[in-house]
């Protein structure tokens, strides 16, 4: 279908600092004991997209990601991993690999996306409208722990919730305004020309940009070339394209017309005009065309390009792993409500316990839990809505609720962990009480300590 796929796998994100490290770049963070990147790759594989370019920030991270992909997806996908310097941003990353892009349209997917919306749908919407860019929007996931109403968690979820302001046309097919993240000020500015052309604009704050875009390659490359300052796709390129959609500075070559003139030179030009009018009139025009036509409805006078959206339906799962909160949310969802994403088969108790895991007596593992390979639980433990990685050793009388425990973690007797993330090789000594904490890799929590809402990590050497 003439699409090329670029997966932006990122590097070591600052937002996720205690979780990611040099050893574990963002793309390899485990979600239900699988690297988060595998969700994107499998989604693409499912759509029969097997030629991928994965862009990773940083040489080390690229090596690790590449190593993992070649191990896990050998014979299944044809993946090229490209390393770009850190801090070039998403736009910079694309700029760096722009010369590899040859197809007509480019699908850009963020590597931290966990969703079950078919990328084909976005591509189809893109093609149907012949858009310059199509973005996928999804409803903002309901985040935060379901039961334990921890205050800190809520604070974190509030922030991204109001971070997106998206303007749509009445048919919900075109993007008229987008402002995300830090660029939102107290008031938003909407261009009069767009408003006048559309007549009506719907402003939504309950949608978020899923970072799955389809770009026309020519457009993307042109924008990247011309605007050197653009760092981020989401914050620079997309808003720019949306802003300028009615006064396009792009040299969008009307591909079909030029071609037709190419192999049919005898036809007088007037016929071509008539033909395009014939086509344009009988089909319902979008506001772009109406605007381009000018007031007297004659031949197009203004250049426009279309910015389309594909809005994922409510029943689809779609989330981005871009914060610590999101990390634990996604982990919980993938083994909970969005369990079809995980690819595991659940037991009758609606949980996944690897056969080699050992459970002590009177230990209960509740619903929506996952116990990795070779993990051991002592007596009288209780695990609820949590993911426990491989080869963890957990003593007796331990409570794990709403938490993510990565691989090779040692938890001694009498610990209580709530809403926390414990990274690989960490060690929790006896009677530690953690609530909404993040414990970095290899960190040792001394016995008897109690923490609430803190980052516990080794000092950077």
């Amino acid at each position: 279908m003439d699409f090329q796929v670029v997966v932006l796998a990122g590097g070591t994100s600052k937002k996720l600092v205690p979780l990611v490290s040099k050893e574990v770049p963002k793309a390899l963070l485990p979600v239900a004991n699988r690297p988060v990147l595998s969700y994107v790759l499998e989604l693409l594989e499912h759509s029969n997209l097997k030629d991928l370019i994965v862009v990773v920030e940083g040489q080390d991270a690229a090596l690790r990601v590449g190593g993992w992909i070649s191990g896990a997806y050998v014979d299944r996908l044809h993946v090229e991993v490209a390393a770009v310097p850190e801090d070039v941003g998403t736009a910079g990353a694309l700029r760096a690999i722009a010369h590899h892009l040859t197809a007509n349209d480019i699908l850009v997917v963020s590597g931290d996306l966990v969703c079950d919306v078919s990328p084909g749908a976005v591509a189809a919407a893109h093609r149907r409208h012949g858009a310059a860019v199509t973005a996928m929007l999804c409803s903002v996931p309901v985040s935060g722990p379901l039961e334990s109403g921890s205050s800190s968690g809520k604070d974190k979820t509030k922030k991204p919730g109001c971070c997106n302001i998206i303007g749509l046309d009445p048919t919900k097919q075109f993007l008229l305004y987008i402002a995300t993240g830090p660029e939102i000020e107290r008031d938003i500015r909407v261009q009069k020309s767009i408003l006048r052309a559309v007549g009506q604009m719907e402003i939504r704050a309950d949608l978020m940009d899923a970072h799955l875009y389809a770009f026309k390659r020519a457009v993307l490359q042109e924008v990247l070339d011309q605007k050197d300052a653009f760092q981020s796709l989401q914050q620079d390129v997309l808003p720019y394209l949306v802003r300028s959609q009615l006064r396009s500075e792009l040299s969008l070559n009307g591909a079909p017309h030029t071609e037709e003139n190419g192999h049919d030179k005898v036809v007088p030009g007037i016929n071509q005009v008539m033909l395009s009018q014939l086509l344009a009139k009988t089909s319902t025009p979008s506001f772009h065309e109406l605007y381009a036509m000018g007031p007297n409805g004659s031949a197009p006078v203004r250049r426009t390009h279309k910015c389309c959206v594909y809005i994922a339906s409510q029943d689809k799962y779609c989330a981005r792993l871009n914060s610590i909160q999101a990390f634990s949310d996604i982990n919980r969802d993938v083994i909970g409500e969005a369990s079809h994403l995980s690819g595991y088969s659940f037991s009758a108790q609606n949980n996944i316990i690897h056969p080699s895991a050992e459970l002590g007596s009177k230990t209960t593992v509740g619903q929506n839990c996952m116990l990795g390979e070779g993990s051991q639980l002592g007596d009288k433990c209780s695990v609820k809505r949590s993911v426990i990685g491989r080869h963890c050793r957990i003593g007796s009388n331990v409570k794990v609720v709403n938490s993510v425990v990565m691989n090779h973690v040692t938890i001694s007797d009498g610990c209580s962990i709530q809403g926390s993330v414990i990274c690989s090789n960490a060690q929790l000594q006896e009677r530690v009480v953690l609530k909404d904490c993040q414990v970095g890799a290899g960190f040792v929590v001394t016995s008897g300590s109690e923490y609430k809402g803190e980052f516990l990590a080794k000092k950077e050497r």
């Binding site: 003439d2 078919s118 591509a123 189809a124 093609r127 192999h263 049919d264 014939l278 009988t282 319902t284």
Partner: protein
């Protein structure tokens, strides 16, 4: 011979009004072929049977062939007497909708042309028999007799046109008697005699079989093989239809191969959707999985049910999974599905341009020939497009044109040359048949607009719009009434454009058409198709507008490019139509508070029907403006027939 009676009955127009039949219903009529064909005077019955069957089960591609195949048998007897009465009797069959103009037109048309036409349509693709045929001005009978001779010397005999292959064996054995008997029987029309004839034929057949054991069998074998396989003649001509529907009286064994042929064929677009088994089969084949529709309207169950609303997301999500589909074709399919492209011309142009793209990117796989592989490829594209939205007649004609172009490609052409020639053919089709045709129509129609006229138009027709704009450019003083209807409200777009150009317009909905008609002096309408009985197949509501206009004695001018003409005959808008989104009529745009039918699908007692097309009887149409000039609706079949060759070969 009981079926014969059936055939007679069917001639009665009242009975024929009943719109749809299961495919099984027709055999009676068509089966009456053999005896008639051997006794030409009777032939004026058989054509009705034959030409009617497309109304009942109209498989578009075959229907046409059917008609044509019927022609050779039918015309000579009609014309030879030289009187118009047979034509008149023939007319009620809706074929020419006979009135004196047509008849006179016919008489003008020479014999040679008839045979030429027949040959062109039916057979020339295959052999050169066309020339042979036209060299026999004697007419159709000779022609049909000659035709097989071109194919094989064995079966010179035979082929009373009606039976072609199905009775291949039979006809061969009869060969000795037949010429004589058929001639002698010319006058005899009575049933008994015909039966006697058939009896005789059977006897002869049996006898022949008995005595001439080897040779004729071999001969018949050759004959059948020639007729059935290499020469698709038989397939194209009536045999196909006949054999499929023949109940039995002829040999079962010979019946088989054509049946198989038929199965191999693509499912013809006019599938009867209440035929469960076929629907199942089609579903298995379908790229897009259709979803069961609820609350179908009983009377319209045979039509493809509207399921686009659910189809679109499904199709979209499969974007990357449909490998064989060319992106351009896929895009067009999506646009049809989403309603981005509508209107006969626009859809046709979009499709042709997509095919052009596809052909450009096409390369013949190894060990395949371009002609065959490309045709198969196109067929798969077409069936995909049909799944997105049923084809319009204009598209059907364009596809037929393209396929015939591919089939006619000389083998000596290299791949790139062949592709280039096809692409330029498509361009030529678009330019000549659509763009130029529209210009010509505009030139013609403008002469009918005078100062002070009040012109009424319905919906949004590209041709009508061009006419109005051109007349305005010429400085004519007139007013336009745009009549519109829910749910599509296409007229609003037209209105916007007309007002933008400075025309003075009145906008109203169709329920007010009888009020506004007082002021109107002319009605200009567009059409999706004009059928060969003069029926105008167009956007639903057109019939109503033209009826009102007729009642007010306002002339109704239908603007339609000739490539949209279709040789099918349709008497009502039930048997063949398209269903639109039922939700569209239950929702009132812009007035949320009166959407009382929001959850209508839950109620089993409520069925919504959103028809897309209707059929305007030719009585209400004063004139059809086409690229061949302004003609009365009764002349449509003439154009279809006379220019058909041009359509197919340009």
């Amino acid at each position: 011979m009981d079926p014969r009676r059936g055939a007679r009955v069917v001639i009665d127009p009242k009975v024929r009004q009943v719109g749809f039949f299961a495919p099984g219903a027709s055999p009676g009529r068509t089966q009456s072929g053999p005896p008639e064909s051997s006794s030409p005077p009777v032939a004026d019955n058989s054509p009705t049977g034959n030409s009617l069957s497309p109304v009942m089960i109209p498989p578009p591609r075959h229907a046409s062939d059917n008609l044509l195949s019927a022609r050779p048998a039918l015309y000579p007897p009609l014309r030879r007497p030289g009187d118009t009465i047979p034509v008149g009797s023939y007319n009620p069959s809706e074929f020419f909708h006979g009135t004196s103009p047509t008849a006179s037109f016919y008489s003008k048309v020479g014999d040679g042309e008839f045979s030429e036409d027949a040959s062109g349509a039916g057979w020339t693709h295959r052999g050169n028999s066309g020339k042979v045929a036209s060299s026999f001005p004697g007419g159709g009978f000779d022609l049909t007799a000659v035709k097989p001779s071109n194919l094989t010397t064995v079966s010179v005999v035979n082929m009373p046109p009606g039976i072609s292959v199905k009775s291949g064996g039979a006809s061969i054995e009869v060969q000795n008697e037949q010429p004589a008997s058929s001639r002698s029987l010319k006058e005899k029309t009575s049933k008994a005699e015909r039966r006697a004839l058939q009896e005789a034929q059977r006897a002869a057949k049996a006898a022949a079989k008995a005595e001439v054991s080897k040779a004729p069998i071999a001969a018949s074998g050759v004959a059948t093989s020639v007729n059935a396989k290499p020469a698709k003649v038989s397939k194209l001509s009536s045999q196909k239809k006949d054999s499929a529907s023949v109940t039995a009286s002829e040999k079962k064994g010979v019946d088989r191969p054509p049946e198989k042929d038929r199965k191999k064929d693509v499912p013809h677009p006019r599938m009867q959707f209440d035929d469960k088994s076929r629907v199942e089969k089609a579903k298995r084949r379908a790229v897009v999985r259709p979803i069961e529709v609820r609350n179908r309207v009983e009377l319209f169950r045979h039509l493809p049910q509207y399921e686009r609303g659910t189809l679109l997301p499904d199709l979209e999500s499969k974007f990357f999974l449909l490998d064989p589909m060319h992106p351009a074709v896929y895009k067009v399919g999506l646009q049809y599905l989403a309603g981005d492209v509508s209107g006969g011309n626009a859809r046709c142009i979009a499709m042709l341009q997509a095919f052009q793209e596809a052909i450009k990117d096409y390369s013949t796989p190894p060990e395949k020939t371009l002609v065959r592989d490309l045709t198969a490829r196109l067929s798969s594209y077409v069936s995909f497009l049909i799944e997105c939205r049923p084809l319009s007649i204009s598209m059907g004609n364009a596809i037929r044109f393209l396929k015939s172009r591919i089939a006619k490609l000389p083998l000596s052409l290299s791949e790139s040359e062949a592709k280039a020639s096809l692409q330029s053919d498509i361009n030529r089709f678009i330019n000549e048949k659509i763009v130029l045709a529209d210009k010509v129509i505009v030139r013609h129609a403008v002469t009918k607009i005078r100062d002070g006229d009040v012109l009424l138009t319905y919906g949004s027709s590209s041709a009508v719009e061009m006419i109005l704009l051109y007349a305005h450019e010429l400085g004519k003083q007139f007013r336009v009434v745009v009549v519109d209807s829910r749910p599509k409200l296409e007229g609003q777009l037209l209105l916007r454009r007309l007002v933008g150009k400075g025309l003075s317009c009145t906008y109203t909905h169709i329920n007010a058409v009888s009020y506004i008609m007082h002021e109107v002096t002319r009605v200009f309408l567009g059409a999706s198709s004009v059928l060969s009985n003069g029926t105008v197949y167009s956007r639903v509501g057109t019939a109503c507008v033209s009826m009102v206009a007729h009642a007010f004695r306002v002339p109704v001018l239908v603007c339609c490019e000739a490539y949209k003409f279709y040789e099918r005959v349709q008497l009502d808008s039930i048997c063949s139509n398209e269903l639109g989104d039922p939700d569209a009529i239950s929702k009132v745009p812009g007035r949320e508070e009166i959407n009382y039918l929001d959850d209508w699908a839950k109620s089993e007692n409520l069925q919504l029907l959103n028809l897309i097309y209707d059929a305007t009887p030719s009585d209400y149409v004063s004139m059809i403006i086409t690229d061949y000039g302004m003609v009365p609706p009764t002349s449509v079949p003439v154009i279809v027939r006379e220019y058909r060759r041009e359509h197919l070969w340009i």
